[in-house]
């Protein structure tokens, strides 16, 4: 029996409170989800409005159209932004995942000197507010000539994604059975072979979800790219930001819908990976 079931002897007052609680929770869930869901139908608006037209409410096909999506796929500004995002995020993800996994393996060893201090430094990009990271990177990268370059944005985004890789991969390594690497060494495998053939396949779910976090960090990031990048590195979130600040156009809603679909896909992947890794470790999914 779950905690939330009403006992048969509940008084009327308890019953009322019980159902009121459900209603309150329902409203809070509505608050969480509705704003995201409402933009999906609005993005098919045939007019340039940000609200439901009478035609839409009457489910008249005339009221709906794909024109904002067409605009997104034909407008050179949006296309440029999309390609910039596609070029920056994977490069940053690759850097954070490769360096981050290596360091996480190092950090999970038994004897690491200055472990806490190193961990604090590696996690710091997640703690420091983005505007401060952006300000510091803007000052420093302009000094060394990286400001306004593709490479500079990739480095900045990689730094921001690293804490997520470190956290997810070290969490996976906690449940890693160290006797497996010892067995591999015993059977004559060198450390590199042991890492790729034994350790990597087992921690792969953690690495992939860390990578997804790093990807979404870079793909969604706007504050740092706004300062470190120049017009040539204008990414999708940047274009949305200027769009929202200056001339708000309904194309933003079409882009938002596409991004929501991408987030749903990523969320599903991470959930599947998490359950798989917990099943491998013999825990119940949940």
């Amino acid at each position: 029996m779950s905690q939330m079931d009403l006992p048969p002897y509940a008084t009327t007052g308890q019953k009322i409170w019980h159902y009121t609680f459900y209603v309150i929770c329902g409203l809070i869930f509505f608050f969480l989800i509705a704003p995201i869901l409402v933009i999906i139908p609005l993005s098919f608006n045939a007019e340039d409005f940000f609200t439901f037209t009478p035609e839409m409410l009457a489910f008249d096909p005339e009221g709906y159209s794909l024109k904002h999506y067409r605009d997104f796929f034909t407008n050179p500004d949006w296309q440029q932004a999309m390609w910039n995002s596609i070029k920056i995020a994977p490069a940053a993800t690759f850097l954070s995942v490769s360096l981050g996994t290596l360091a996480a393996v190092g950090l999970s060893q038994d004897h690491v000197p200055f472990r806490r201090a190193i961990m604090a430094i590696l996690i710091s990009p997640m703690i420091v507010p983005l505007i401060i990271s952006a300000a510091g990177m803007y000052f420093f990268y302009s000094r060394i000539g990286l400001q306004g370059t593709y490479f500079g944005v990739v480095l900045a985004h990689a730094a921001l994604g690293i804490p997520f890789v470190i956290i997810t991969v070290t969490a996976t390594l906690v449940g890693f059975d160290r006797s497996l690497t010892r067995a591999a060494a015993n059977l004559g495998a060198n450390p590199v072979t042991t890492f790729f053939k034994v350790q990597m396949p087992l921690i792969l779910p953690g690495v992939i979800s860390g990578g997804l976090f790093a990807f979404i960090t870079s793909f969604d990031e706007v504050v740092v790219v706004l300062f470190v990048g120049s017009a040539n590195q204008q990414t999708l979130p940047w274009q949305m930001f200027t769009g929202l600040r200056e001339q708000i156009s309904p194309t933003i809603l079409a882009v938002a819908t596409i991004l929501v679909v991408i987030s749903i896909a990523l969320l599903t992947t991470v959930e599947i990976l998490r359950r798989r890794s917990e099943r491998l470790r013999g825990m119940t999914p949940g």
Binding site: I33, F52, G106, Q109, G136, F139, D220, V222, A256, S263
Partner: protein, 557 residues
């Protein structure tokens, strides 16, 4: 019985070395291997992230521009007492002339003017106006010197007076190499040897030598000219006049013969020169040069490091007489910090209010149901920040969905639609929505560990539902509230995007001001100081979070 057990002395390992040492070596190797794995990332983070933060901290106190641009003036001003209420002596004005004409040639005087304008409004235009005219200061003396001896106007005369012979030889060699390279069609990128003064001239004619050397080097670095072809600018003649009027007849005799021959007639004539008051030339350019406050500001900001930006960030300012409050109408930063803290607290509070019931529900429902409902929390968590902000922008507009629904339901008249965006309300609603998952997830993970038997035991001992919750369940969930609150507060206090887009003017945070100073007002020092203060607040909170929750317990959904 093995040998090792019966032996006395240190225990040996298989290869005959003491076991203790072998173990130590193995441990050291293990440590080194771990560090070698971490090193690449550590270096990467240090370069791409920690160095920028350090740079920002440095910039918040750095102030070398004044002493770099006006080296002579800051030296001359050291003994001047700003309390006397008088502008400084003519010596300071002369030093300032040499500095300003060089700065104007390097086009640095406007930057310096902008910098000092942060401290005293009006200095920027003062520098700009005077910078245009300063290279004429001393023209009177130039005319009179050339009347005495027309040769003084010619570049080669000045070479004889000032240039070191070995520099002239070096320069000639460099020039010959350059010409040869050009003829052969080769690239030639060797820098020209920088102008050097003749030995002894600086002792006899200190100001002239200094002013001319600066002129010659600027001709080389700024315009790539040969100083031997350039006629010096009027301030050099001002320096010559000031030197010759001060030195006795014997001093000239210490120069070499050629120089003596050039300068002797001029030296005899300076006594009869028509003089101009240098201060008057400045007052002609702008009356404000008379204001001791201008000079006091230059003097106060001469040191290479200044607390000035930090003082500005808390609505104080550094004046020549010490620290003082900003004028009433320019005090905004304390108010902005207060607003940032207040709104972050409100957002944190609303997150607790909305997040607690949800976390409670999720942790007490059967696993299957709660997993499905958890998706509803994770979806916003994974959705792009800009998507959520644009959703709120669309919903809260006066012609937006919420107002439409309210009008349709008859709660609000069509002509009295609610203003819910571009104010504090908009920021609080949107940020509560954005940060709510960060409250729910830590709360949920704490609540999941609370055994349900405690509440059942309380109830079986006669507690009402409320007492059982408040006295038994709630205290056990407090660590979750603490963790969630600090997390939400840390995130809220540094938010930039959402306040910028839905905050209007009354709903913006300190971070918006930082961004403004970086990209619009270009007052980087102040931006760095504001950022440093914000960073300190966040780090203190983070330290608390580490004490309460532990950094290793950060989980991601």
């Amino acid at each position: 019985m093995s040998d090792a057990a019966s032996q006395t002395g240190p225990v040996l390992s298989a290869d005959g070395k003491p076991l203790k040492r072998s173990l130590q070596r193995a441990l050291r190797a293990q440590k080194l291997r771990a560090l070698a794995l971490i090193a690449p990332l550590l270096i990467f983070i240090l370069v791409t992230f920690i160095a920028p933060i350090a740079d920002m901290l440095f910039r918040s106190v750095e102030n070398q521009i004044v002493s770099d641009t006006l080296p002579r003036t800051t030296r001359a001003l050291q003994d001047w007492d700003h309390k006397a209420g008088q502008p400084p002596s003519e010596d300071v004005f002369a030093a300032f002339t040499y500095d300003l004409v060089a700065a104007a040639e390097r086009k640095e005087h406007t930057r310096l003017g902008t910098r000092l304008n942060y401290e005293m409004t009006g200095i920027s235009s003062l520098f700009r106006k005077t910078g245009r005219r300063v290279d004429d200061f001393g023209e009177t003396y130039m005319d009179q010197f050339t009347q005495v001896d027309p040769a003084l106007e010619r570049p080669e005369t000045w070479m004889t007076l000032m240039a070191a012979p070995d520099w002239q030889a070096d320069y000639a060699a460099w020039d010959a190499a350059r010409v040869a390279a050009n003829k052969a069609g080769r690239d030639f990128d060797q820098p020209a040897p920088l102008f050097r003064l003749k030995a002894g001239v600086a002792e006899v004619l200190p100001e002239t030598a200094d002013a001319y050397a600066e002129f010659a080097r600027l001709a080389q670095t700024e315009n790539a000219d040969n100083p031997a072809d350039e006629e010096p600018w009027p301030p050099v003649f001002l320096a010559l006049y000031r030197d010759l009027i001060h030195v006795g007849p014997g001093a000239i005799g210490r120069l070499d013969d050629a120089s003596q021959a050039i300068l002797a007639p001029a030296h005899d004539a300076v006594e009869t020169f028509e003089t101009v008051d240098l201060v008057d030339l400045y007052l002609d350019a702008d009356e404000d040069w008379q204001n001791p406050q201008v000079w006091a500001t230059i003097q106060a900001f001469a040191p290479a490091y200044t607390p000035g930006y930090f003082l500005s960030s808390v609505d104080l300012k550094q004046t020549p007489d010490g620290v003082a409050a900003q004028p009433e109408d320019q005090r905004i930063y304390v108010m902005l910090f207060q607003r940032t803290l207040f709104m972050s607290l409100v957002i944190m509070g609303s997150c607790v209010l909305l997040g607690y019931p949800i976390a409670y529900l999720l942790s007490n429902l059967p696993m299957r149901t709660s997993n499905v409902l958890l998706i509803l929390v994770l979806l916003p968590f994974w959705t792009s920040l800009l998507v959520r902000t644009s959703a709120w922008k669309v919903l809260l507009q006066q012609q937006g969905v919420i107002n439409d629904v309210l009008v349709w339901m008859g709660i609000v008249a069509d002509d009295a639609r609610l203003v819910m965006i571009n104010n504090q309300f908009g920021t609080i609603v949107a940020m509560t929505h954005i940060l709510l998952p960060f409250m729910i997830l830590p709360l949920y993970s704490v609540m999941k560990t609370i055994p349900p038997s405690y509440v059942r035991a309380a109830k079986s001992l006669g507690a009402t539902n409320w007492t059982a919750f408040w006295r038994v369940y709630f205290p056990q969930s407090v660590p979750g509230i603490g963790a969630g609150c600090i997390l939400v507060f840390i995130l809220a206090i540094g938010y930039y995007i959402t306040p910028e887009l839905v905050g209007g003017t009354t709903g913006t945070f300190i971070s918006n001001r930082i961004a403004y100073h970086i990209s619009s007002s270009l007052n980087w020092g102040l931006a760095a100081a504001l950022g440093t203060i914000l960073l300190a607040v966040v780090l203190i909170l983070y330290w608390l979070y580490d004490r309460i929750v532990g950094i290793d317990n950060v989980s991601l959904g």
